[in-house]
Each structure stands twice: as C-alpha cells, then as structure tokens.
C-alpha cells in the first residue's frame, strides 16, 4: 500500500537529525564559556559579558520551566500524602481491605477495596469492548478505506476524542441506559446461571453501563493513536509482503501488525489510563454501592474517581482526607500504567531510530 503519511515520518526523522547539528553550531558559535582565550579579532569583552548574562538568564528560565513538570509531579505526591495521612490515621479500619466508606462518622471507617475493584473492573470491560473495535477502525482508516473517505473519517474520530466526558456521561444516563437495561434483562433471563449475569435486579445503572460508556469514550483515543502507528508501517515492508503474493489481510498480519505491536500496546495502555481516571461519566452512570461483586448487570458499581465526585459535597475534614487518600491510590495506579506505556513507546522509538 502506498501510504503517503509514512513518508512524513521519514521527514521528521530527517528533521531530528538537523537539531543536533544546529545545537553544535550553537554551542561553538555562541556559548561564551568556550572562549578561554582572548579572541584574535579583538572582540570587546564588554558586549560578551552582557550577552552572557541574558543568555544564562534565558537558559535558566527555560530550564526552570522544564523542571516545573518534575516539581508538579513531586508536589502532587507530596500534597496528596500530606492531606491523606491524618485521615488514614483516624481510620478505624484497614484502608486497603475495607469495603465501606464512612469517613464522615465520628468513628471513621473507610477502605479502598471496593472502589479499586470497581475502577479496575469498569476499565477492563471498557478495554475488552473498545480495543478490538478501535483496532478494526484504525486498520480500516489506514489500509482499507479510500483516502477520500479515510481523511474526513479520521478527522471526525479526532473530534470525538475531544468531546468532554460529561457529555458521554449524560448520554449514558439519559439514552444508553435503556437499551443496556433491556440487554441486561435478556442476559439475565438466558444466561442468569453465569454469576456475571445473575441477580434479581434492578438492572441498568450497572457496572456494565459504566464500562460500555467508558468503552465509547476510549474508542476514539485508541483508534486515533493506533491509526497513526499503522500508518507508520514502512511502505516498503508492505510492498515486500504483497510482492510475495500475500493477500491484503496477510500483508497486514505479516507487515503491519508486528510492526505496530508496541505502539498499539502503548495506545491501549493510554486508553486504560484514561478509563481508570474517568470521573464524571461514571459518576453519572453508576449507582453507588460499596461492595465487591462480579455481577455486571445489577445496579451498583463504583470507582475511585466517581466516588470522589459523589462524596465530595458532604465530606468533612476527615472525609476530604479520605477522598484525597483514594485519589492518591488512583494517582499511583495511573502513574504506573502511563509510565509503562511511555517506556514501551520510548523503547520502540529507540529501536526505530537505530534501525533507520
């Protein structure tokens, strides 16, 4: 397939090559610290000194701005911990194993177990549903659709990725809930013997609704990231597969999917990070329950982020601390997921650059 976008990748690679060259020129040309001997041309020392100060000032300013990112990440951890610790000390139960959430009582009892379970379960449902579909659409856009269709469609997907989560939440609650309830009742009738679909009802505002809404939300993100990855497959590898007599699907399996695998994994991880941290869509679609339950279709379910949004209004000081503690757990989980995803991408980038 002659996918032209892949050419632009080479173009960027070329540009990357340009930067070090310029940087070298900059270092030799301008950094006054390199001039240990007096210049032969008799260049005055005075202008050099002024230049020196502005240059270092600007350099320092931009370095500080860059370091700000690290400062913020550390600050997030520090401040969350500082507010969480008093609440955790006041807790009368084990934070990690307790299911219920009564931090506002005089004898506060709260734990993350049910919340963390709901967070992970809803995200897993979202990924199981969204990833195959997202990869299909990405392949459709990169290798099946004619360019005239793929470009506007890709544009629409990018736009959907920008739609605020509160809109998806509202839609899930007002529109999507009904078909999901019907589907749940049907599942319960015919597959009620499976614990996942058992229960007495009521159905509808369930972890399944939340998971499906999350799936619809992460779909555009995973699609647009993996589409980019698929488009980067070197055209010459695709041609090599075709020239060996591969069908289009075989070409995709031989050249596109193996090449895109790390990128797709990273895209899925980023989607997972998004799903784990999603707040409002779940706050609107789940009906709050504090228990660990594998039943997907009965009303209930909860997540760390949704619980923060729901419980924040009535929280007293310990309650706030408890919510911040749960937010800290969420922070750590998403940090791990994101760092893993980025590490994969970085390793792949190095691999690609060294191969080029």
């Amino acid at each position: 397939m002659g996918d032209y976008p892949s050419r632009s990748v080479n173009a960027t690679a070329g540009d990357l090559g340009v930067t070090p060259r310029h940087a070298q020129g900059a270092g030799y040309g301008n950094s006054p610290s390199n001039y240990n001997e007096p210049p032969l041309g008799g260049g005055g020392a005075l202008p050099k000194k002024t230049r020196f100060s502005i240059e270092t000032g600007f350099r320092g300013l931009s370095t500080a701005a860059g370091a700000m990112v690290l400062v913020i990440i550390v600050a997030i951890a520090v401040f969350l911990i500082s507010k969480a610790v008093p609440a955790l000390q006041a807790n009368n139960a084990s934070f990690l194993t307790e299911l219920t959430w009564f931090p506002n009582d005089t004898e506060p009892v709260f734990g993350i177990a049910a919340l963390a379970f709901g967070t992970v379960l809803s995200s897993i449902i979202a990924l199981i549903v969204a990833v195959p579909i997202a990869l299909s659409i990405a392949l459709f856009l990169s290798h099946y659709a004619p360019r005239r269709l793929a470009t506007p469609l890709g544009f629409v997907i990018d736009l959907l990725a920008a739609v605020p989560s509160v809109v998806f939440g509202l839609w899930g609650r007002d529109v999507f809930q009904e078909p999901v309830r019907d589907f749940s009742i049907w599942l319960n009738e015919y597959f009620g013997w499976i614990p996942l679909f058992g229960g007495e009802g009521p159905f509808g505002q369930s972890i399944m609704l939340g998971g499906l809404v999350l799936a619809i939300m992460v779909l555009p993100i995973v699609t647009s990231l993996s589409r980019e990855v698929f488009q980067q497959t070197p055209g010459m590898n695709e041609e090599a597969a075709l020239a060996l007599g591969a069908t289009r699907w075989e070409m995709i399996r031989t050249a596109v999917l193996p090449y895109g695998k790390p990128g797709v994994i990273a895209a899925v991880m980023l989607g997972l990070g998004r799903a784990l941290g999603e707040t409002i869509a779940l706050a609107l679609t789940l009906s709050i329950a504090f228990k660990i339950n594998v039943n997907l279709i009965e009303n209930g379910g909860n997540s760390i982020a949704a619980n923060i949004a729901n419980a924040f209004g009535e929280a007293n000081e310990t309650g706030r601390g408890a919510l911040i503690a749960s937010g800290l757990v969420l922070f750590v989980i998403t940090l791990v997921v994101n760092m893993t995803a980025r590490a994969i991408i970085y390793r792949r980038r190095e691999f690609r650059d060294s191969a080029a």
Binding site: S82, L170, T279, I280, F331, N338
Partner: protein
C-alpha cells in the same frame, strides 16, 4: 518439484493456471439473505429476543457463511481475507451507531432550551418549578477559568519546550521529557485533588481569615496543570520542525541563541504552537472534575475569579444532570450542546490552522 507444490497441492497454482474463481456477488448476497432469514426465523420465532438480536445473529451467521462459501470457491486464504475485511467493516458500523446516537441526542435535546434566556440568565433564584434559568454564569466561569489557565500554562509550556529543544541535553532533559509524557495521563480528578490540598486547603486560608475558600482561580490552577504537558509536547514537536539552517543563518550573523530563539525560531513555529494551545484549551474547557473540587460551582453570576465559588459549563451540565427539577435535563443538554460547540469550534479551528500551516510549508 517445488516445496510449495509438495506441501499444499491444490492451493498452489501451477504456472499454467494463474486463474482463480471469484465468489460471485449473487452468491454473496444469497448468503447474506439466507443468514438474516434464518436468524429472524430462529430468534423471532422462538421468541428469545427482539429484532436487535436477530440482526446480530444474522451478522454472525453471514460472516460464518461467507467464510465457508468463499472458502469453497476461492480457497482458504482468499476466504480469510474476505472475512477479515467484512469483520473490519462491521466493526466500523458497530462503532458509528453509539457515536451517531450521542451526536443526535445532543442536537435534538440540546435545541430545546437554545434560546436567548438561556444565555442571558443565571440559575440565581431559580427553583425546582421554574422552567427558565440559564448558563450565563457558567459560560462566564468557563471563559475566565480557561483564560487564566491559558495565561499561566502557555508561557510555562512554551519555555519548557524551548528548554527541551534548544538547551536540554543528557539525562535531566530525558527525564523531563519522559515525565511530560507521563503527566499527560494524569487523571483530571487527581489534578483537582492536588489543587484542593495545595491551594484551597493550605494557601487560600491565608487570604481569607483562615477559612479555606473555593475560587475560579483554583480551577484555573488545576486546568493549567492539565494543559501544561499537552502544550509542552505540541510546542516541542513544532520547534523541532524549524529547519536547522534557519537557526544557523541567525547564528552566523552573530545573533545570540536566546535572541535567535525569540526572533527566529518561535515566530516560525508560531502557527503550530497556536494549534497545540487551542487543542489544550479545548480539552481544558471540557473538564468537570477539577472544577467541581476546587471552584465548587455556584448558582449566581460571579465575575471575580478570586472571590469565592464559581460555576463552569461542564460543571453546570453535571449539576443539572443530578438536579431533581423536571426542567433540569433540558438545561443540562443545552449546556452540553453549548460546551461541545465551544470545544469543537476550537478543535476544528486548530486543525484547520494546522492543515493550512502544513500546506504553506
């Protein structure tokens, strides 16, 4: 005798026979009709489901039938190719349905309260039985919060990107770049909690007689935390696209590096940077959770971003969605439509700008 011919006779075509039979379109249609007919009869006849299930079962039967029909006529490889293509196409259709439903609901429910009153009043003194009430205060809040957040995040983000591209070398720059990427994935609620514990609970009492105080500015801080990594990343990419010879030309004239960056590099990359900023702004405008945690929401108009509770559009949607009044859902949908319009206009403008920029390069 070649290995291929020894191993898979029949599949391999001899040189004298490069012809293959193709599955006739008629057969394809017949398989489809048969699949859906069987599905309809079985599902509706036995009453185990409605037409939706019939369609789903029909689609599955069609895919299976297609695989076997094509397998008989064209061979296994071609059949697999055909089936995978059908699967990919049906996944697209499947995904379009809910997304189209979102758009349709948004428009059809959103225009109900799309009137002048909605954009000129707040929710002050609007009780559960009042059909009116609007989002004026929320729009003010969104504009102020996002505006202040942009003012804070853009200089910081652009400077950070300049560091990464122009000055950053070695391990520290690598670490910064890595954590910028990681930071893009921080959930918005965590950013909200961070500003809550840092600004609202610790700093704001200094200015408010020891009492913690919500404010629009706190929301701006949280949004700035969310915007920063996006802006750094997009600006960094744009700066890297500035051709090296352009900089070298400037250095060769004896212009110092900081001046080159400000006078040559930044202006060249400006359209791209603006695009990135607009995308970040669009993203921030849609955030609900941090505003809920640190601005608190309000029913009345509050122009002062430092003076107490403030509303925002996304938070307005969320609160109206949870409101018991029977007029609340209409307000929620209209506010959602307004919010989406705002976000999409920003996004589309940014993408068009990016496209034009690419063309001129």
């Amino acid at each position: 005798m070649s290995i291929l011919e020894r191993q898979v006779p029949g599949v391999v075509m001899t040189p004298d026979n490069i012809r293959s039979r193709k599955l006739p379109v008629v057969t394809n249609v017949l398989v489809a009709v048969a699949a859906f007919a069987v599905a309809a009869v079985v599902v509706l006849g036995t009453g185990i489901g409605n037409w939706v299930l019939a369609v789903v079962v029909g689609a599955v039967l069609y895919l299976v039938g297609l695989y076997f029909a094509a397998g008989r006529v064209e061979g296994r490889r071609a059949a697999k190719n055909r089936t995978m293509q059908a699967l990919i196409y049906s996944a697209c259709v499947l995904a379009i349905l809910p997304l189209a439903s979102v758009v349709w609901t948004l428009v059809s429910k959103g225009i109900e309260r799309l009137d002048a009153n909605f954009f000129s009043t707040s929710m002050n003194n609007i009780g559960a039985r009042d059909p009116l009430g609007g989002a004026y205060h929320a729009i003010i809040g969104t504009l102020e919060q996002v505006g202040i957040a942009t003012l804070m995040a853009v200089p910081l983000g652009v400077l950070g990107a300049i560091y990464l591209v122009e000055y950053g070398r070695g391990k520290f720059a690598g670490t910064v770049r890595f954590f910028v990427d990681v930071m893009t994935g921080i959930p918005s609620i965590v950013a909200g909690l961070f500003i809550l514990s840092f600004w609202v609970l610790i700093v704001s009492p200094w200015f408010n007689d020891g009492q913690p105080r919500f404010s629009g500015f706190a929301a701006s801080l949280a949004l700035a935390v969310l915007m920063l990594p996006t802006i750094v990343r997009s600006t960094e990419e744009m700066l890297r696209l500035v051709p090296g010879p352009l900089r070298e030309g400037s250095y060769a004239l004896g212009v110092p590096q900081w001046k080159t960056i400000l006078k040559v590099v930044l202006p060249t990359a400006l359209p791209g940077i603006v695009t990135g900023v607009m995308l970040a702004v669009a993203r921030a405008a849609g955030e609900t959770a941090p505003v809920l945690l640190v601005a608190g929401g309000a029913a009345a108009i509050n122009f002062d971003p430092f003076g107490g509770n403030q509303q925002s559009l996304s938070l307005f949607v969320y609160q109206q969605a949870g409101d018991a009044s029977r007029y609340a859902p209409a307000r929620a949908w209209t506010a959602a439509l307004t919010l989406v319009a705002l976000v999409l206009i920003l996004t589309i403008a940014a993408k068009l700008l990016a496209r034009r920029n690419k063309l001129s390069r």
